[in-house]
Amino acid sequence: MKTVAQFAIGYEQLLDAGGRICGELPPFASDAGQMRRMYEMMVLCRLFDTKAINLQRTGRLGTYAPCTGHEATHVAVGAAMRPEDVLCPVYREYGTQIWRGVTLTEILTYWAGDERGCNFAGPREDFPWCVPIGSQTPHAAGVAMAFKIRQQPRCAVAYIGDGGTSQGAFHEALNLAGAQRLPAVFVVVNNGWAISVPAAEQTAAETFAQKGLGNGVPGVQVDGNDVIAVRKVMQQALDKARGGGGPTVIEAVTYRLSDHTTADDASRYRPAAELEAAWQREPLLRTRQYLTQQGWWDDAREAALRAECTAQIDVAVQGYQSRVMPGVDFMFEHLFAHPPAALRDQQDIARQYGAGEAH
């Protein structure tokens, strides 16, 4: 028997868990401003997460999907994308979204049960959060198809989790993107857990990156807690896609340091020792160590940053808490550009009974 195909999956890491350089750094890593900006965004995400969880615990927010542990991947993807690219997120990639102009108030408004949070003032063409798992990936393929048809040098980026890669939609989207060489990048955030099911039970594949290969799409694995490495591979994938080279799967290996959502209790299924070990690899500390080694960061800057982030978050909390609550007409608005006449009777009933009874 002859071999007709072979594969290998590369792994990129440039900054180890101790903040030590362990590979050839890309040019942006020598730019103090760019590196500081990424670190600052990571800290903002971490503090925002803590605040949002607290808001949920005190009854001021609905179920919330935390991002703690994922900050390097999310921020690096945001930094590598261009504003004119389009993001199809899952529901916890705040670092990418904030980088692209989604506001903290919009994020809180959404998780407070109010779809107005999806009406981003900044990235107008980005998709809103996507709750049905994996179903955002065909959207990215479709957006990329529109870019191809119109010959626009833009890219679509879809996120998906390790669990999401089990969905047929993911493979269908990859298959199309490969067959049509679409300008798309699929970022698999492997955080180890799909709610309570560990990645090892999700698939027999050694990596999630190789799930692209069966669909003719190359894949690469990267340390998802290494902001420099993620931005580098993301940049390469976007450059390739923009240049007509087709799609890429990037598997960012990270860890969900939080519960799946605030409605979840990971201690029911996840060994404490595993979580403890994962904290030793978390992304913020190593980034700060790198910045400190370069002479770009110190305790005073850290204190100032945290104060600034806290103030920014407080303003956002004020923003969503002081919003005018949606009235019943809200349900009937924006269903159609040309609403059918039949809906008016139901709207009249809704108006008559108003907001309903509290349970």
Binding site: P138, A141, A179
Partner: protein, 327 residues
Amino acid sequence: MPRVTLVEGINLALARALSDDPDVVLIGEDIGVNGGVFRATLGLQQRFGKLRVQDTPLAEGLIAGMAVGMASQGLRTVAEIQFMGFLYPALDQIANHMARLRNRTRGRLCCPVVIRMPHGGGIHAPEHHSESLEVLLCHHAGLRVVCPSSPARAYGLLLAAIREPDPVMFLEPTRLYRLAKQDVVDDGKALALDAAVVLREGDDVTLVTWGAMVHDTLRAAEQLMQEKISCEVIDLSSLSPIDHDTILESVSHTGRLVIVHEAARNIGLGAEIAATVAEKALYDLLAPIVRVTGYDTVMPYFALERAYIPSVARIADAARQTLQDSP
């Protein structure tokens, strides 16, 4: 003025839309060189190129999902699902995303998508090729569901559907594709999407139906005329939203209502129409409402499909029954 079949009327409308608007793009399985399994897209790829008339991989969920992405960028995407029995994998995208994107982004993004699909049986097709699944679509807010009954209506309704900024599910009655020819003016004029049409005026009983059943119902009305039973026949045309006003107006005149559909009876559209007439016009009724529908069985393989699809005799008997049941 060309005399065309229903499928040729669809082809004319697609060609017109592609010519008029560079943002119109067609996607689907075998719609390119092959022109679609029913030839609805015949010759269009040659005229408009492989990017605007595009063969997709064989995955209905993908077709609906990529349509959402393309439409979010402003492409008026017309997707073909080869047979309605293959709609199921696409429902996740249609219900969770296509129907909701405008609402959940508060109008920021929308889905100008048309999904065309054959509807109903009667052409001796394989299993899963003959279903009438309109209720699966009608139940979802944010969608329009349309079903033409003639070549001219197919042409005008499809143009309207493509120009609509929201998703329209366009059900094409399979056994009408080549049943009869009609003069169709290729003038680019669209028909109203949300309106039912009175195809035949009458005084004794209102017959409401849509799609291929329109023809059997008209034949029943013709037969009944010889018994001096005068039927008003309404082509519902818009399955969602339903034009209840046209039905109510007719029932207030005739006092009797028969609803005819090929889809199964249980929770079919007939139930919705009957409930609305009961709520709004019970005292106009001279007799109980009768439904003539497919049975609550699996849509049988073709050896028995004619036993499943309501016949002219069943429709006529139902109309007679409403006269016997009333004073």
